[in-house]
Symmetry: C2
Subunit: 280 residues, 2 copies
Amino acid sequence: MKVFIAGLGLIGGSLALALRDRQLADEILGLEATEARAAEALACGLADRMVSFEEGVSTADLIVLATPVDTIPLLAVKALNRVNSRQVVIDLGSTKAELCEVIEQHTRRSRFVAVHPMWGTEYSGPKAAVHGAFAGRTVVICEQERSDKDALHLVEQLFRSLEMPLIYMAAEEHDLHTAYVSHISHITSFALANTVLEKEREDRHIFDLAGGGFESTVRLAKSSSKTWVPILMQNKYNVLDVLREHIHQLQLMRRLIERDDKEGLQEMIDRANSIQRIIH
Amino acid sequence: MKVFIAGLGLIGGSLALALRDRQLADEILGLEATEARAAEALACGLADRMVSFEEGVSTADLIVLATPVDTIPLLAVKALNRVNSRQVVIDLGSTKAELCEVIEQHTRRSRFVAVHPMWGTEYSGPKAAVHGAFAGRTVVICEQERSDKDALHLVEQLFRSLEMPLIYMAAEEHDLHTAYVSHISHITSFALANTVLEKEREDRHIFDLAGGGFESTVRLAKSSSKTWVPILMQNKYNVLDVLREHIHQLQLMRRLIERDDKEGLQEMIDRANSIQRIIH
């Protein structure tokens, strides 16, 4: 199978490595936004050669869109415009409603499979790609009933080979749940980093005292704005909804502390503890 | 050296293991709040035997207070009431202003050294104690000028043997900086867990989708209310101050998203990214 990956950053690049490690691709064609990144991608072994979008789409069996989510809907249309009835196009983006709406009435919509592997790190670009990235993580397939059976089957087999459990969701449903479980975590972490940078003027203190739990909550704050501004804007209404609830929860905790309400504070913390029944 | 540790949970228990692993104690005497926990502590090898507070304080060379911070000031006074001029008392608590104020005028204040090792996990109790816990983490010593030279020297040598870099701070300063760097991270994480539990009614979705960054930001939400209510209450004013700033930062992000202000959002995320110059 010949695979074309548009966007060889953290996600696309890690997929390239996984395809190579498991010998799932005969050839990997790549595309990157700049010459510098293209050179990096080649140096990291993420593609056999770099090609234009047109060449990639016209020659690959599987076309993978792994660029920032604001660019995916138009690239999806342009790819579908060019593919034949045996080629398959997928994306790996973190939002799905906008994409699925844009391609809904395309005459070759059924050659597309909307895919979201639930894995990431705070790093980005070709150098951020890592071996063994996806194994054990869930992969979400959206609107699977709109994809041709052979296209869906190819994608399912591919991600099963990467040891990823498959789940299926409507696009709207996917965006709602990822806002709750992934997108809000990034907002929290960005805001926490800015809080500490604002209040703590001496870097040295942050560095010395960070053993007290700070690193884990602030890790995601290193994530790239190029990736995250598009995600937060595309999932605006779900993100705002969960962000309002999060601010409300923080205000509740603030009021309990202000009023010395130890019992109330204990109740909130005990309730929060119940997250361990889900996340071990 | 005979060591008495009051509180063989995560911190006290991990210190016991470190003392054993490095053969820094000839005998470790322990005290736990309940018989069940005392039995756990013995089963985990955290102490040679369990003793009363009175026996521990009257026979040990080094007395370590590792109980929740609301109990430490009175235990410190009671320990100092009984020690002679060669014994040393330390605490391992996460707050220092209240403690240092309470013992300030004690006639044997100089036998006390106020210590905060900057290490922890989200788990608690004797079973949470781990080997190799403290190495490489900073240990803060507060008000070191109020401790006798020999007492301070013993404590410095002990934590240097555990490979912990030492830093010195006034108690008020310690509580201010730990509010910024440690305590706010826990509040954020508790609030995030409650947000997601409130908004996402299906546990299964949280479990399936958590690969998107959720685990790392919510990890601290498993932390015990028995540990954290006392810390947040004892450090109330600093915690409220940093919590106000954190809510403000989240409201700023909310407004930028509401207004589709991509440039503003990008600026906030880029600013948050600069945390990586401090935390790698």
